[in-house]
Amino acid sequence: MLPYTAEALFALFDEYNRAIRPVPAIALFFSAAALTLAVRARMDRSRIILAILAAGWLWTGAVYHLAFFTGLNFAAPVYGAVFILQGLLLVWTGIIRRRISIRVDPGITVWTGVGIAVIYAAILPIFDWQTGAGWTDARFALIAPGATAGTTIGLLMLSDGRPPLHLVAIPILWTFVTGLHAWPLDIPQDYLLPVIGIAAVFQALKSIRRRPT
């Protein structure tokens, strides 16, 4: 049982989005930029894309969870620490070690990843906006946890079709946390995220079997 209602959660997003203006617009811009770079760039822009994702995880952990969500949920400090860890892993693996190459090659996995990223970077915020009281109720990728996790899973599916397991573990875990929250809170648009998490698990397991020995 969660210690808050959906009403309180979206009121929190309303307060949060207002308090951090114009960061939601900036987050929207950078989400679109990450997607565009992944799909259209001729050169490898992986480090930029991963830097954007890392910044999103670090922001969401430090600002959303630790500064805002902690007022509603006593588990928020743990969530914040996990999100910050994910941000640091993206910095280390993707930017410093350069172990990921994100690009769109033909294939169902890759286009599924693009689709997932589009859902969480663009469609979910619009859905929240339309079903809520306004744009301030929307959960934007790079500054809200579920949207950030979904966008990250989508973009990591573009990494040569083999996302590094240690980079998808936390986003996948978060999809299940969101799913567990979606049911008692009755937020139907969040039921999709654990489905995506399960798909990502299968994809990750498939990629383990495919790795050359």
Binding site: E7, A11, L12, E15, F74
Partner: protein, 341 residues
């Protein structure tokens, strides 16, 4: 033996209006006729914006006649109203001024209708902060019987946590400080005793919401110097009748009951059925009052603490504070009726 009745007779009370709309009660056409005001009128009478009251029902704005039902804490003789208010989930609304003001309206009804006992915990997110905000806004802090909890596995953290709770509520002392869900009760009892000696609380208690922990609670009740216990008891969860309630009564403890509606499940299961006509003998006009009066009519119970975020539901809950209470025979009849549904 007729049900207990206060000398001034029962108030006329609104038909049940939760959770799925009006339920016509047999034999209540007179009450329905007498019931004239709408929920908006209740709100207006209390200076509450109509948008914060339910607009999907009509609840009469009839003053509660007769005295509020009170029960004495056996060890001290202090009387408290038998219906209080919990704040788990319902008052955890963060910094939203809109939602905080709506909760202030709920609390205003609660106090206006004669109740006093408010229960919270640091575990409940921003609930304590919101309660403090509401009390600041309403300005009736002196009427409060404040009950909160210490919730930390760390001995040393308890003192600062309780100090933080006092600050959030805006009080110098709590009436009741409880060890939440038995967490580190061994470590906290001495701290609480010291705080009590310093005048920072009046009663010490322990709580659980889990039937699986009743055994441990029994041991604490038997062996430790506490004055209050809080656990779950309702028309379905009646395990406490076997040992906890008699033990608490034997030791003169205050008994605070959480989850009297089983987190709303009692409404989901039973509110679609008609309230029995004989519930009018104890002035029930809705299922909330039926469920609550069953709970508080147990002789060992001091107070039940239903939680709500709605003004109309608070009005219904407060209806259980007035009128008759079932005696043993009627309690059995109530139980049998619910089992038959």
């Amino acid at each position: 033996m007729p049900p207990n009745r206060p000398p001034n007779g029962p108030p006329d009370l609104p038909p049940d209006l939760r959770p799925d709309g009006p339920v016509d009660l047999p034999g209540t056409s007179r009450r329905a006729f007498v019931a004239a005001a709408s929920a908006a009128s209740v709100a207006a009478a209390l200076g509450i914006p109509a948008s914060h009251a339910s607009t999907s029902l009509s609840a009469p704005d009839l003053p509660a006649t007769g005295a509020a039902i009170r029960r004495a804490i056996p060890n001290s003789g202090e009387e408290v109203p038998v219906i209080g208010m919990g704040s788990w989930i319902t008052f955890n609304v963060g910094d939203s001024s809109r939602l905080r003001d709506a909760r202030a309206d709920v609390l205003k009804v609660f106090l206006e209708r004669g109740s006093r006992v408010i229960d919270s915990s640091p575990m409940y997110g921003s609930s304590e902060d919101v309660i403090g905000y509401c009390l600041d806004k309403i300005g009736r802090r002196n009427e409060l019987f404040g009950a909160t909890k210490v919730w930390t596995p760390l001995d040393g953290h308890g003192v600062s946590q309780m100090a933080e709770s006092r600050k959030l509520w805006g009080v110098e002392a709590f009436d009741l400080m409880q060890i939440h869900n038995l967490v580190n009760w061994e470590g906290h009892l001495d701290t609480l005793a010291a705080d009590k000696a310093a005048g920072r609380m009046r009663y010490i208690g322990i709580t659980t919401s889990h039937g699986s922990r009743h055994g441990e609670m029994e041991r604490v009740i038997a062996d430790q110097r506490i004055e209050a216990v809080q656990f779950t008891y309702n028309m379905i969860d009646r395990a406490a009748e076997r040992r906890l309630l008699p033990m608490a009564a034997e030791r003169g403890h205050a008994v605070v009951i959480n989850r009297p509606f089983r987190r709303g499940e009692l409404f989901r299961r039973f509110a679609k059925h008609p309230l029995p006509a004989w519930s009018a003998e104890i002035d029930c006009t809705g299922w909330a009052q039926f469920f609550l009066k069953f709970v508080v009519s147990h002789p060992a119970v001091t107070c039940a603490i239903p939680a709500t975020s709605r003004v109309d539901h608070m009005v219904e809950n407060m209806g259980a504070l007035y009128g008759g209470l079932p005696d043993a025979a009627l309690r059995a009849r109530m139980s049998k009726y619910v089992e038959s549904l």
